[in-house]
Every structure is written in structure tokens, then in C-alpha cells.
Symmetry: C2
Subunit: 604 residues, 2 copies
């Protein structure tokens, strides 16, 4: 039986052989128990739950979707049972503080569990992951009272959480929001406004929903500088912790979306009856800063969602290709008597599978590595190291979100192509994966916004130190690879691309600060593409170095796996990196056409 959702051997490779996740146990008391055996057990449990419970209801979630009646949202019938199971297993807040109900798990390990869960049923998972995210905000910025009121119930899934940013006229431009907060005498605020695109804004999975809400206190400055963050529960919470009265948060609509049907995307009206009360979370007018904390985590999570869809698509496509009998071997195309073979034998299908394989492996390594960097940014031995890894998280977040989800959409589309006509039929898994994954390129900041973040903020952050540190890591990997004869050729190609990235990054950074700033930003997305290609090449090279080293002492059954890791690098170096060099050449043109063309040269 083929593996579902993900390639367990590759997960083991990344977690144990590349990142050596068990070494994290030495850094932090909470992690002390996470030796190799425990890590394996945790991932295995997540895998079992994902395959046995989340995956079987994924299609039901897509087909049934959510319905709204009289302000109440009904989720797909099986979701509640599985949501309860999920919480019984204590999976909702794996990386959060155990004192509040979290599991205190290393991020590196949680990445593997998240891959299985999201690959199995990502629309379902949104209810869970947003709850953790909202909880994390409270954990970080909340008063002791707020933490006591909300946290344990959220981390155990008794209540869920959301994130209320977007308004009809304030999407990418959060600063344009108009939701108001009017101070009450008791220190609370009356909240009035309309929010849209709220994932899990209303549903029937939990008895209360806690909304972190961005709003402007009356009289606060315009733009992002006047935004504060509030906690607004669906039902108020009495002092004894029991549920109080309805807090005037009304679900006025749910969106009919192309994908993620199992998750409710709600429009919420706050305070239409003047009766919506919230408490300030963090400081006045510092709401954006607080949201950014959540946003970085949320962006990485979106990368996980996209990657998990791509990973699942790859496993499905591979299985289909091995079993679908169609056509003869190309070398026998003129011989009608030759036997039909699995499409896995056809060169173009194998190319597609190699595209999927190399991209998914690079994604997995990058996504897990960013999680590892989070662990290190919190618990590395020295402050200097912590700062270094924090810088890596910052720089790599737009790649892990923007570049990864762009590629994830392509991988899912490639998977559909492997299925041929069956890929377009909803009975098979590809259509849903492609529809679901598409939103990951849009939400939590479109991928264009990620690219602007990379060029405008991350590149020059801290005088460019994080970027320089990252180049240092890449060079170390290249140097290691060049010492291994079978990798030398590919390593040289990766080195060429890394050097070119350094040149182009300086060019782009300088251009962005000069008179051609608009042209620079018109090339931000292509710059993110080329940077992402390079980062993926680095990941594949790192993998190949580890594989080549471990190959020497490998058990027989592991040999093909390690060889396959090296093949991914070779494929990428031969087929993608020449194109990456072309992307760099285009970036050095820094085309200004898009910003210089007059408006009336477009069709009216």
C-alpha cells in the first residue's frame, strides 16, 4: 500500500538526519523529553490520527461545506467528532507553554505533525491553527486575567480563536480599517464595525469563539499608527469562567469559495446593537505590532498549508502513475503488440514526478528548517545565536510563505496533470487540492506583499546581517558538498547561482533605495522567485550532502532513498538552475515598463 499524505522516510531524514531534532532537548527544559524515540512516537501518533480521522472527512468537508442559518454556521457533520478527538489527543497547541495547556513541543517536531494534519485535511485544521495563533497572542500580550480567562480553554479546544483584520475597504491596507473602539468607564471598550473574510468566525465546533480584533480607539491617529488590538469573545465570560451573555458579534454571511469549503469564511458585524464589549490586548495603538507577531507565525503556517497540499498531491500522483496502465514504452511505440505499461514509465510523467519530488523535498526541508530556526531563536545557547536564527526566520518567512505557496500551486497543478482527465473529476483528490491550495497564495498577505516584504524590509534588515549570515550558511553547505566527488558538479552550479543572488540582491536593494524605486518593486516578485529557487537549491544541496555522507554507512534498504535525494539535486541543478540564472539576468534589466507605461496604453 502506498503511503498517504507524506513520505515518512523523508520526514525522518529531515527531522533526524538533517536537523538532528533530538539535540534540541538539551537547550530547553520543556524539550527535555524529546529524544529520538519520543519524537518518532509523537510524529507517528499525528500520522495515525491524520490518516485515520482527518483524511476520511476531507472530502465530506469539501462537498458539504458550511451553511449559515439565523446567524449560526453549521460545519460538515463529521467535523465536530474529529475536532473533539483532535483535542483529546492534545494537538491544538503543540508548541505552546504547558502551563496554559500547550504541549511544549519543539517547533521542528511540530512541523512534521503539521504536515500530516494539513496534508490530510487543511480546511479542518484552520479552525485549530487559528485558535493556537489567537491563543499565542494572548499568551504574549495578555494580562494575567486575560490569560486565565481564555488560554486554557483555547489550547484545549474548548473554545476557538480567530483573527479579525480585514474589512471590505481594508484588505492589504490594514491601516484603512474603520472599526471603532469606544472606551467604557470600567476600562473595557465598545466595539463597532464590520469584518470580512474571517476564517472560523462562526461555527458549531466549540461553545465560544475568541476574536482578536483590530480597531481604532476613538480619536486615535489615522493609518496603522492608530490601531489597537482587542479581545472580543462571542459570548462574554463570567468571573467564574462560565459563559455569559451573547456579545453582539453577528455572523452576517459566509463566503462561497473556490476551495477550503470545510472552513467557514465569515462576515462579522460587531456591535450592531451597541452591545459588543472587548478588552484591550497589549498597549493602545500598538495593535499592528502585536498582529505582526501573529502574522509571522501565520505566514509560516500558510507556507505549511501550501506545502502540505503539494506534498499530498505528490504522493497521490506518484501512486496513480505507478498504477495507471496506459500506452506502451516510448521505445516500443511503433510496436502495437508491446504490453501497456504504467504511465510511471513515460518520460514526461517521470519529469513531472521529478518536478514534484524535488520541489516537495526542498519545501519540506525549508519549512522544517524555519521551524528549527524558531526553536534556535528561542533556546540557542547564546544571545548572538538566538539573534542569528531570529534573523533567519525573518528573512526566510516570505520565501516559506510566498515562494513556497507559488510552487505548491504549481505542484498541485502538476499532480492534476499526471492524473490526466481524472484529475479534473472531483471524485479524485487532485481537484480539491488544487482548489484548496490556491488561497495560500492570497491570504496572510498576498505573495506580492511577501515579495515586497523580502525586498523592502528583510533584505536590508539589521544592516543586511541576517542576509549575510544566510549566505554564510549557504557557502558552508557548498564547501561541504564540493568535498564530495559525486556532488561536486551540482555544487558548482549551486555556487554559481548563490553568487549571482548576492550580486542581484545588492543591485535590487540599491535600486529600491534610489530613484528607480518603483521599477525595483515592479521586480520584487521575480526577485522572490529567483531567491526562492536559490534557497531551494541550497536545501537540496544540504540534503544531498547529508545523504552522501549517510550513504557510506547505510543499511541496504536506505540506499535507494539516499540516492533519490541526490537525484533530486541533480535534476534541479540541470533543469531549474539555468532558468534561475535567466531570472537573475532579467532582474539585472530591472524592467521599468510596468511602472512607466501610461495608463491609457492599457485597454479602456
Amino acid at each position: 500500500m502506498a503511503q498517504l499524505i507524506s513520505d515518512q522516510r523523508d520526514i525522518d531524514f529531515v527531522v533526524h538526519e538533517i536537523l538532528e531534532a533530538h539535540t534540541l532537548s538539551e537547550l530547553n527544559d520543556n524539550y527535555a523529553d524529546f529524544n529520538k524515540k519520543t519524537i518518532d512516537m509523537v510524529i507517528k501518533e499525528a500520522k495515525n490520527l491524520a490518516i485515520k480521522e482527518l483524511l476520511p472527512i476531507n472530502k465530506e468537508g469539501d462537498e458539504t461545506g458550511c451553511t449559515l442559518e439565523n446567524g449560526k454556521v453549521t460545519t460538515p457533520a463529521s467535523f465536530k467528532r474529529v475536532f473533539d478527538l483532535f483535542n483529546e489527543g492534545e494537538w491544538l497547541a503543540p508548541t505552546e507553554d504547558p502551563q496554559w495547556g500547550g504541549q511544549g513541543m519543539p517547533f521542528t517536531v511540530a512541523a512534521a505533525t503539521a504536515e500530516y494534519f494539513n496534508g490530510a485535511n487543511y480546511p479542518f485544521m484552520i479552525y485549530c491553527t487559528l485558535t493556537q495563533g489567537a491563543g499565542h497572542l494572548i499568551e504574549h500580550f495578555g494580562t494575567e486575567a486575560q490569560k486565565k480567562t481564555y488560554l486554557k480553554n483555547m489550547y484545549t479546544g474548548k473554545w476557538t480563536g480567530t483573527m479579525l483584520l480585514t474589512e471590505p475597504e481594508a484588505g492589504s491596507d490594514v491601516g484603512a480599517l474603520t472599526t471603532k473602539a469606544i472606551p467604557n468607564a470600567d476600562g473595557t471598550y465598545n466595539i463597532v464595525g464590520e469584518k470580512i473574510f474571517i476564517s472560523g468566525g462562526e461555527h458549531d465546533l466549540a461553545e465560544n469563539i475568541i476574536h482578536p480584533v483590530l480597531a481604532r480607539i476613538e480619536g486615535a491617529p489615522a493609518g496603522t499608527r492608530g490601531i489597537s488590538l482587542f479581545l472580543v469573545p462571542k459570548y462574554r465570560v463570567n468571573k467564574d469562567g462560565s459563559l455569559g451573555q451573547f456579545n453582539d458579534v453577528i455572523c452576517t454571511g459566509i463566503e462561497h469559495k473556490m476551495g477550503i469549503h470545510g472552513n467557514s469564511t465569515c462576515s462579522l458585524s460587531l456591535g450592531t446593537r451597541g452591545n459588543c464589549v472587548g478588552t484591550l490586548l497589549g498597549e493602545e495603538n500598538k495593535g499592528m505590532k502585536a498582529m505582526f507577531l501573529m502574522m509571522n507565525a501565520a505566514r509560516l503556517l500558510v507556507g505549511v498549508q501550501g506545502f502540505a497540499c503539494a506534498g499530498a498531491a505528490y504522493m497521490y500522483a506518484l501512486d496513480y502513475a505507478k498504477n495507471r496502465i496506459q500506452g506502451r514504452n516510448l521505445t516500443e511505440i511503433m510496436n502495437p503488440g508491446a504490453p501497456a505499461v504504467p504511465i510511471f514509465r513515460h518520460p514526461d510523467v517521470r519529469r513531472q514526478l521529478m518536478v514534484m519530488k524535488s520541489n516537495v523535498e526542498a519545501m519540506r526541508t525549508l519549512i522544517y528548517y524555519v521551524h528549527y530556526c524558531i526553536d534556535m531563536s528561542k533556546y540557542a545557547a547564546t544571545d548572538e545565536e538566538k539573534a542569528k536564527y531570529h534573523g533567519f526566520v525573518e528573512v526566510l518567512t516570505p520565501i516559506a510563505k510566498g515562494y513556497v505557496t507559488d510552487r505548491a500551486f504549481e505542484v498541485c497543478s502538476q499532480g492534476m496533470q499526471v492524473y490526466g482527465g481524472y484529475g479534473f473529476i472531483e471524485e479524485y483528490p487532485m481537484a480539491q487540492l488544487l482548489r484548496d491550495v490556491r488561497i495560500t497564495m492570497i491570504y496572510e498577505g498576498t505573495n506580492g506583499i511577501q515579495a515586497m516584504d523580502l525586498l523592502g524590509r528583510k533584505l536590508g534588515m539589521n544592516k543586511g546581517k541576517p542576509v549575510m549570515d544566510l549566505f554564510g550558511e549557504m557557502e558552508t553547505t557548498i564547501a561541504r558538498a564540493k568535498d564530495i566527488p559525486i556532488l561536486e558538479k551540482a555544487a558548482t552550479k549551486v555556487e554559481e547561482v548563490v553568487k549571482k543572488l548576492a550580486e542581484v540582491a545588492i543591485h535590487m536593494g540599491t535600486t529600491a533605495m534610489g530613484p528607480k524605486v518603483l521599477a525595483a518593486f515592479a521586480n520584487a516578485h521575480p526577485f522572490q522567485d529567483a531567491t526562492g529557487d536559490t534557497v531551494f537549491a541550497w536545501m537540496l544541496l544540504w540534503r544531498a550532502v547529508t545523504a552522501a555522507q549517510n550513504l557510506e554507512k547505510a543499511k541496504k534498504k536506505d540506499i535507494p532513498f539516499y540516492q533519490g535525494v541526490i537525484k533530486s539535486l541533480e535534476f534541479y541543478a540541470q533543469t531549474v538552475l539555468p532558468i534561475t540564472l535567466g531570472r537573475f539576468a532579467a532582474l539585472l534589466n530591472t524592467s521599468a515598463v510596468a511602472v512607466e507605461i501610461e495608463d491609457d496604453m492599457f485597454p479602456s
Copy 2:
């Protein structure tokens, strides 16, 4: 009010200024009336019908879809009325022979009408275009009796037509089909078999459906060499032309698809009660040859479908970008008092629109040009010219289908990205366009199969003459462009890419005939990509040459349009062609990894 579906000025440009479609009127009696005025009138009528009737029911088609009950398919409620209107307007067989009910219109002109119709409602159009295609088969291969029985009713939309190739185990490998034809004493055949993925295989728009069916006469050879083509009506036709008894063609299921919901995709059982009678169309065992005639036209049509979706997506995205107010100008990003602007002002959005603009314009020019080549292959003055243009049709078909639909999917996705979160909501047009367009990459031969056709068949066809002729055309355009100072720079870049294509085409062609044949075919799709980039560059250059020339004597209102044409070329030359050179570099690697990797190096 913004233009819907397409850019009329650009259609005029391609039809009149580039292809000079009115000159076709001199070549053929049927075309004699098609002077500029008539052409404009025909296109205007199509545009009106498309916008007033087809477009408004597109969403209904998507939402309602088709239903199957007791073997009967019900199409969306409004489809029948519009189908009748469409046929009253005599739009079903625009390019077919008037003696059978066609309109005898130049293909070049029909391309423009097809763009409007398919851009407005492509799922609806499938019923119509397949009918024309099936009719064309009968016109070409049918006996006088078959023509008399079927053609007029089909070309006037009283009856519709289909194309029955695919079976559950015979998709891309048509030769594997098992549908049987058993000769009867009266010269007819009893047909028995199961066909799937039949667009419009059953519906309620017309009183009869005529199925061209691929089947194997008992005792015929295995593979494609033993396949014959039959005409199988849903209801038999009496000698007086009236409908006779039901012909045992039973619709056993319809597919639940990701897109094109308005079109029924049927499973058909033929002869389950031993009562399905067909007549041979063309010669015994020559069914594939006949189907190929239809297939080339069908493949070009799929290119039209993909392009029309992309074109519509571009017009929607442009309109949205001009009207959606969000964020401030980048140069005032730090000034919260600056006014919010349309997203059309943001560099990344303008880049996206330029990607869409340049691709859509190149697509339009290529698609119309291939139609023009069909006209010329039929009616050019000399046999030599006819042969030349026939060769162009052959070589350009995989580009017009495979490359165009790959890009069309990306353009639709880009359009969704311009809409941001609203793009993912089904209320807005982007989700449907993206879902609908995706099948164009799969059906009528997946784009991988198109790429194999290009590399394995078209490249070396007729000793390479068509390909060489095509290079000749490109060189002519380049030479003209180099004489125009403002185009010289871009022309030089296009020239570089064209020369590289020539080198790589020889390399790929030679490799495909040598021991590395599998590696060559593992690079067939990337070769199609690079070839397509080059063809698009040629199209954009051709457009720019015409625009630059016409600019000199242009009316004031046309100046921005012509300048915009030149901007598309410049954008493409600066941002895409360097990447195309990278693609060529990758092709010269001719990576064999995909075909050399051992099966067990993939996950099990």
C-alpha cells in the same frame, strides 16, 4: 464602462492591421463578401450576442451545472433559449460550407467571433463547437447519403454532435480501445462498448445527438491500425429525415468536475441491449486518420478556449485594478495622510497586468494567425504556398494548444491574484475562469502529449521544411524591426532567442533520434515552453513593427494603443526572454535524471 471579455481595439489591430483579413476575400468565392465592413459587422454581431446572451448565463451554468435522471441530462435552465438564439444567428458552423448550412466565413474572422463566444461562456460553447467539429468530419469523410442525413441539421443546431474516443482504459492511448463494431448484412454495424468523458454526450438542447465513434471491427488488428470511425445517432433517422427509434446509446453517468459545469461530461453505454446501429464513416481501419483531421481542429479550438478565458480574465483584472481602492502610492507609503489609490497604481499589480497584457496579446495574435494559416492553406494562390501554410498549422498547433493553455492557466491565476481575497470568492468571475480553463491543459491530448507531438513529429516533419519556413518568417519580422530605431533593441533580443531556438531545435531533434531518445522526450515539455516563449516574442515583435509603422499616420486616439503594443514587446523582451535563454541552456543539458532514476528511489 470597461470593455467586457476582450479588447476590441486589439482584435481590430490583429484582424485588419496585422493579418489584413479583407485580402482573403480575393482568394476564394465563399469569402468574396468579406470586405472590411462585413468583417466588422460580423465581429460586432458576435460580440453583442456574446455579451448580451452568453455572458449573463455563464454563472448560472457554473452554479446549476447539469443533472442526470433516468438517462436524461438536464442542462442549466437558460441554456436552451440561448442555444436557440445562437442558432437563429447561424453561428454554429461559421467556417463550414454554405451548401450544408455553414456560413463560409474566413477562419481568420471566425477566430474573433470564437474569442467573444468562448470568453463569454466557454462551457456553453462546447455543445456548439463539438457539433461543428463532428459535422466537419461528416463533410470530409461522409458519403453523400450521410451528408444529406446529418449535415444540415447539425450545422443549424437542430441536432448536435460529439466525439467518442475515450474509454476507461483508453485515454491518451486511444489504440487500447475495446468498443466493438459487428458488421450487419445491410452494411451497417452493431456497436457495443463503453465511452467516457464525452462532452455533450447527452443533453436537452437538441432533439438528436450524432456521435462519431471510434471502434474496432471484429477481427481488425490491435492498436490504432485496427480502428474505424462510425456514425452513431442517439435516435436513428428515418429515410424521410424524421426521427426513428432510440438507438441504444445510454447515458450512464455524468462527471462532477472542477469546472465547465455547464457542459455535460457523459459516460455512454453503446449497445447494452444489442440495439445500437452505426454506419461506417470513411474507410475501414482508417478511423485514426479521420480523427486526426478533427483532432487538429479540436486542438486549435482548445487553444481558443484557453486563450479566451485568459483574455476575459485580463479584462476583468484590469477593470478591477482600476476601481479597487487600496493602499497608498509606494512613494508615499510612510505618509498615512496620503490618499488611497486604485491598486492599478501599485508596481506589483502593474507587473501582473503587464504579464497578462503581453501574454494575451501574443496569444491572440498567434491564435488568429493559425486561423489565417488555415485560410491560406486552403485558398492561397499556389500549391506551394498552400503547403507552406499547412506546414505552419501543423507546427504551430502544439504551441497554440499546449503552450497557450499552459500560459492561459497562469494568466487566469494571475488575474485571481489581482483580485486578492475576492478572487477566491465565487461571486467574482475569477474562480470560475480558473476552474474552467484548467481542463484545456488536459483534454484533446494533454499538454505533455502536445509537447511530444512537437518534438517527435512536427520538428522533423517533411524534412524540417515547415520549421525552416517558420524561422524564415521570424527572420523577416526581425529584419523589419531592426530597421525601426525604437524597436532595434528589443528586436536584437528576439533575434538572439530565435537563433538559440534554431540551435536547440537541432540539438533536441538529433537527440530524439539517437540513443538518448528517452532523455530527449523527458525534455519535450520544457522544449515546448521555450519554443512557445520564442513564438510569443515573434508575435509581439510583429505587432510592434505594425504598430510602429501605423503610429506615424495614427489618429490621436490610436496613439496610446500603438504605444501600448510596443510596451508589451519591451516588457516581454526585458522580463521573459532572459528566462527563455535560461530554458534553452537547461535544454542543452538535456537532463536524463527523470528517465535514469531507479523506480525505488521514489517513495514507495
